[in-house]
């Protein structure tokens, strides 16, 4: 019992420390918040003017895709943060303290939720400005935002493990680029999955980025009228499928990251 209490308290101390850093390095926060604005505007005006969606507005269709893509990308911050702590030797300090062995990673993934909440808010406002609307009521919209945040939290755990594995924050950015780019583009984020060539279509249909996008489109009421029902099971049950992925990812990567933290090489 005491152990759990201490683990929570330690996690909070670490998360507080990370939040102080967000305040002290506003440049990072600004870049984290400006990139979603740019994405929304870029895709809305560049793609939006050439892609036609039958029975609806491309911009409304697009925004959920942008949400999912951006939150997937922002997981990189978790990895970079941990890699930086390793590089600077602070992890060595933490590892010599009688604190909970999972507090550093839990504190980090926890505090990074702040980035995700802020960037969701910014993206929603920008989306609203370019014509995105919520059609299914506030309750469902909250479910949509909640699912997006949950998905982002899971992605954050993958990158936490990667961040502890590599020698520097720069490597995290490069490594994540290679994985996250295909993951968020071979999906229904910017075009309907049905329009893709077969191998890509199958990948896209089973890609959790697609399911979280599909689910939030449904929650926000952004599925264009007359769109044929999806044929693949994940897209027929996108919320359930996404939650399953979230559970699997956290179940695998949280223990991996904690284990890696315990065994991480010391700075020398």
């Amino acid at each position: 019992m005491d152990n759990i209490k201490f683990a929570l308290a330690d996690g909070v101390v670490i998360a507080k420390r990370n939040v102080i850093k967000i305040k002290r390095v506003p440049e990072l926060l600004v870049s984290v918040l400006i990139s979603p604005i740019i994405f929304v505007l870029l895709f809305a005006y560049v793609f939006g003017s050439s892609i036609e969606i039958q029975g609806g507005s491309y911009r409304e269709f697009l925004i959920s895709g942008i949400f999912a893509m951006n939150l997937t990308f922002s997981a990189t911050l978790t990895g970079a943060g941990l890699a930086e702590d390793m590089q600077k030797g602070i992890i060595d300090r933490f590892r010599s303290l009688p604190m909970s062995r999972s507090a550093v990673v839990f504190g980090r993934t926890g505090s990074d939720v702040i980035y995700n909440v802020l960037s969701l808010i910014i993206m929603s406002i920008t989306g609203f400005v370019v014509g995105w609307r919520i059609h299914n009521g506030l309750g469902k919209a909250i479910l949509g935002f909640g699912l997006l945040l949950l998905f982002a939290y899971a992605m954050s755990w993958i990158m936490a493990y990667v961040g502890l594995l590599v020698p520097s924050p720069e490597v995290v950015s490069n490594a994540s680029f290679m994985v996250i780019f295909p993951l968020s583009f071979i999906a229904n984020t910017f075009v309907p999955a049905e329009n893709l060539p077969t191998p890509l279509r199958v990948f896209a249909e089973w890609n959790p980025v697609s399911s979280v996008t599909q689910a939030s489109r449904e929650f926000f009421g952004n599925i264009p009228i007359g769109t044929p029902d999806p044929t693949a099971w994940p897209l027929q049950n996108p919320a359930v499928y996404t939650v399953i992925w979230v559970a699997i990812i956290i179940a695998i990567f949280a223990p991996l990251a904690v284990r890696r933290y315990k065994l991480a090489p010391t700075k020398s």
Binding site: F6, A9, D10, V13, K16, R17, I20, K21, R24, V25, K88, G89, I90, D92, R93, F94, R95, S96, L97, P98, M99, A103, L263, T266, K267, S268
Partner: protein, 347 residues
């Protein structure tokens, strides 16, 4: 009920040999081809300071990392404050304070926030953490900078903050890995007195250093290691005795006469010469009489001296004769093996 017992226990402690607070048996660790530790034994009795001395790459940091549970040894065992480093690492962590070779402080936090965070992670409680942080900032002369982000600190200030971090919990066992590297002379003396005071209160300390003076000043016991194993062990005086005798120390007026000076000294020296710049030291026997003879011989060779003297061996000499390397005096390290070869050719 407890009070009278404590008195008894104290008495007993004086009678029985003091229990070791740090004890390691044949610790080994390798990194690929490199053997960082090769069967290292050490034992530090309660209330004493062990100076772990060795040239770069000797394995000092590796030993500290293993004893502080940051690193798992390939083989060997160790206990710290009675707890086994492998079986109960958490127990070990409760009882240690560590200041590593590289200052592990958070750049974005202020000095106060750094120490407060560490105190909270030792579970000192909110109020106690705050007051402990302020206390230590005062103690380490950082009170003025306490509320500035560490990013704005100088190297020495970071080092001091890191050291303060090791003292936050008033843990009974301290590990300090090259604690005074990068400190100015005043901060260094100040740190020495803090460490002395802590040990007088009964703490136990393992400190690594490359500064002989530091080991000489602080350590009750010195363990010299190289290539991961012990090469000598004893008090500063014992170690100095090992290399014995006095030394002639010469400083020449010009480089040109170095060869002549060497040739003369080799005739009288009872050990290896040590050349650094225009200075030469040579172990001799016979004291002042030998010195007079050496001076006469040098004079007849036309060697002009700037300075000359007899001195007792220092720990530097010990280090040199044991490791074949000069201890770091001010960041530089000289390898004398080349000069040794040159000398053999000359003689």
């Amino acid at each position: 009920m407890e009070a009278p017992r404590i008195g008894l226990l104290r008495l007993q402690k004086w009678k029985t040999p003091m229990k070791p607070m740090i004890e390691a048996r044949s610790l080994s660790k390798r990194y690929g081809e490199v053997i960082a530790l090769d069967g290292l034994d050490l034992s530090v009795p309660e209330g004493t300071i062990l100076g772990l001395l060795g040239p770069n790459g000797a394995g000092k940091t590796t030993a500290v990392s293993i004893l502080t549970t940051l690193l798992v040894p390939d083989s060997g065992t160790a206990t710290v404050a009675g707890a086994d480093i492998l079986a109960s690492p958490r127990e070990v962590r409760k009882n240690i304070g560590l200041s590593g070779q590289y200052a592990a402080v958070d750049e974005h936090l202020t000095g106060f926030e750094n120490l407060d965070m560490i105190a909270r992670l030792y579970h000192l409680g909110r109020q106690r953490s705050k007051s402990r942080a302020r206390e230590l900032l005062e103690r380490f002369d950082l009170a003025d900078a306490a509320d500035r982000p560490v990013k704005t600190y100088s190297g020495g200030m970071r080092r001091r903050l890191d050291l303060a971090g090791a003292l936050v919990a008033e843990a009974p066992v301290l590990f300090l890995d090259e604690p005074t590297t990068g400190l100015d002379p005043r901060s260094r003396t100040e740190l020495w007195s803090i460490v002395r005071e802590l040990v007088n209160q009964g703490r136990t300390c393992l400190l690594t250093t490359q500064y002989m003076e530091e080991a000489d000043q602080l350590a009750d016991d010195i363990l010299v290691i190289d290539h991961g194993h012990e090469i000598a062990h004893g008090t500063a005086d014992e170690l100095k005795m090992m290399v014995g005798g006095e030394r002639i120390a010469l400083s020449l007026q010009s480089d040109a006469s170095m060869d002549d000076a060497r040739a003369v000294l080799i005739r009288y020296s009872v050990g290896e010469l040590h050349v650094q710049g225009r200075s030469v030291t040579a172990p001799i026997s016979g004291g002042a009489a030998t010195l007079t003879e050496v001076l006469r011989a040098l004079d007849s060779e036309g060697v002009k001296l700037r300075d000359v003297g007899l001195r007792r061996p220092t720990l530097d000499d010990v280090f040199l004769s044991l490791t074949g390397r000069v201890a770091r005096t001010d960041d530089e390290e000289t390898d004398i093996s080349e000069q040794g070869v040159a000398l053999e050719e000359a003689s």
